[in-house]
């Protein structure tokens, strides 16, 4: 009899619909994690593999991440080969068919993004290029909305009972973005057409959003450290174009950017390219707000 009770309880537990549990979401970056939380609310649990203050190209494929992925219902990643140096190793180690490419829980977020800088003929003589496009798209708020809609649809597919909540959360998130962007209008106006130099190609979409004019890069080619001759040319170019601000991510060495900025009488602005990239930036809207306000301030 006891055995029957036990079997009955086990069967009931197995039969519990997925929607009664929280969806387990793993994202490759903190930005996707933040948006997933905004959409999923308390119907999901989420964790990010990359920290906001590390270079998402170079994440150690630690076995502890594989354990998280092994239990995940959804793995959402930036795509466009941003995570190609570590994601295949982790997916292989996780043995979770749900999140393998083609699985219901595998979400390549770049699918819903109008991608910039696609260059199918690129080769590695051009540096660490992404032939399928620039992957730093989350830095445009319109893409933040697209990501939220994608998450809404995916979460609703896997947890139909949560549809109303996901719809409402997504609408609220989009409204917050619109409102934040509206509030940033004066800063955006101050940034528009202003020349700046960036360390890496991470700011391409942010450029589209703000209208800033990236006139050069500290890296001569993506992923390639600068040579003295490149920096000398960059300094001359900055003088010609009037660029005074060098923007860079927190995980790069600032010796070279400082050198360049010193030589043009400008300054280096460390901007987080991801949520939690600097202390106090804990969600996606704070990231956009922080970057716009600090850039406008630096360009003043």
């Amino acid at each position: 009899m006891n055995r029957l009770v036990f079997l009955g309880a086990a069967a009931a537990a197995l039969a519990t619909p997925l929607s009664a549990q929280q969806l387990r979401i793993v994202t490759s970056t903190t930005d996707l994690h933040s948006i997933a939380h905004a959409v999923g609310g308390n119907r999901i649990t989420a964790m990010s593999i990359a920290a906001g203050y590390q270079d998402p190209h170079f994440v150690q494929a630690k076995p502890s991440f594989a354990l998280q992925l092994a239990k995940a219902d959804v793995f959402a990643f930036v795509g466009l080969d941003l995570e190609i140096g570590w994601m295949p190793t982790l997916l292989d180690a996780a043995r979770n068919a749900r999140i393998n490419p083609g699985g219901r829980g595998s979400v390549d977020v770049s699918r819903v993004i109008p991608v910039l800088d696609v260059n199918p003929t690129a080769d590695r003589s051009q540096g660490d290029v992404h032939p399928r496009g620039n992957p730093h798209y989350w830095l445009h708020p319109e893409n933040g909305k697209r990501i939220a809609r994608l998450f809404r649809d995916k979460f609703a597919e896997l947890d139909p009972q949560g549809v109303r909540g996901y719809n409402a959360n997504t609408a609220r998130f989009e409204a917050r973005i619109d409102s934040a962007v509206k509030a940033l209008a004066p800063q955006l106006a101050a940034i528009r057409n202003q020349p700046v130099v960036a360390y890496h190609t991470s700011w391409r979409y942010f450029q589209d959003f703000t209208g800033m004019n990236i006139v050069g890069f500290v890296e001569p080619k993506p992923g390639v450290p600068p040579s003295p001759s490149h920096l000398a040319g960059l300094i001359q170019h900055m003088k010609r174009t009037g660029a005074k601000v060098v923007i860079m991510e927190p995980f790069y060495d600032r010796k070279m950017p400082d050198f360049v900025a010193r030589n043009v009488g400008g300054n280096v602005l460390v901007l987080p390219s991801s949520v939690e990239g600097v202390r106090g930036i804990d969600d996606y809207l704070e990231l956009i707000d922080y970057n716009v306000r600090h850039l406008a301030e630096a360009l003043r």
């Binding site: 150690q60 494929a61 080969d81 043995r95 068919a97 660490d128 004019n213 890069f217 490149h230 060495d253």
Partner: protein, 448 residues
Amino acid sequence: MRILVVVAILFGVPIAAQQPDTTARRDSVARADSIARADSLRIVRELERIRGEARPVQPVGAMTPTRAVQPGAPSLNPNISVIGDFIVDASPDGSTLESARRFDVREIELALGASVDPYFRGDFILGLSDEEGIAIEEAYLTTLALPWQLQARVGRFHLPVGKQNTTHRAELHTIEYPHVIQRFLGAEGGKGTGLALSKIFAPFRFYQELQLTAIERFPEEHGHAHEEEELGEEHFEGAAAEPPNKTLAGLGYTARFRNYWDLDEATNVELSFSGGTGRVAEPFGCETFSGIEPCPGPSGETAVLARRSLVAADLTLRWRPLREGLYRSFIVQAEVMRQHKDQPALPSGVPASAVYLGPTEETNGLYVFSRWQLSRRVFVGTRYDWLEATGDAERDLTAISGYLQMFPSEFSKIVLGYEHLRPDVGERVNRLLAQMTIAIGPHRPHPF
């Protein structure tokens, strides 16, 4: 697909004409054509607008901005990579490489990999070298959809015995495998052909993995140079009465138990234990006045199956602060291995003067390796090797080596190495080596 449809409509492919033709249908087709043409014109205008959009000032440096609406269609072709491994031996007393060359293309690896279907992934790595011609380095199918965090692999693969043996030689932090791995598992690492099964679990809230393999045979020991010379004509391989794989007990088996802890976000430790066993044919012979001669047993056999076993433990500590991870990291790694060889009973019916000629000793060996990152592209490393003396060896083998690694990019590596080797027989050797490794093809995942 959409473009094809648009083109078809624009060029007036009469798809609808194949249907029964009525006035109403003709009207509806005309309306559809009109809508489709309008849609196609809108798409064409949109593409023209996108292509013709004015660009900002041409930036100097890292990118050439272009614009597209969606990434390209994924390809169903397998990933194809080629890894070239080039060696220069500048040692003062001549080449110390197995090939005896000063300049050597040690190996070219051609790697192909792709998902076969939703259930399997296929990986094929061919090794090309002057010595071996074309060899199947690895070729295996990996399951993608087994339940309970299980994964199976069928084919030929690097054996999960010890830590560094699971890494391809070209991807090592050093130019060659540690001496203990070269001796016990082979200069190119130990591989096996068979079946592997592994499972990950975390009952104690940290990562654990059990890896089991059953293989055709356990890798042969890599002989000492002096053994070949000293045994001379006495050395013969012999043939056993039956092949080792006739029974399941004759196959090779390995097991590895991995334990992994994150100490903090920058530091982690891995401690693993592994072992392997298998039976190999070892010769026996009879002592005569002229030396040792083959003396076949009742079935004509001149060898007997002897068991060779290996146990190992490895410890790896990694430190890489996330914020400065592009520029600073440290790794220290140690492995200890112990090899045991049984002395089997000789078959009944062989002459009384018959003696077992295979090795019987127990041998220990270890290495300790560390590597420090100096800058984004430059690392320095050092390794200490020790191998216990066996057989006719005069002393233990010891070696100390230092390495300077430079990574022009993720896809190329230059290593300069110096090794002071005190072999188990003969004079001390100073080795000066340089290695260049390049990879072309898709981005290779970084080994962990």
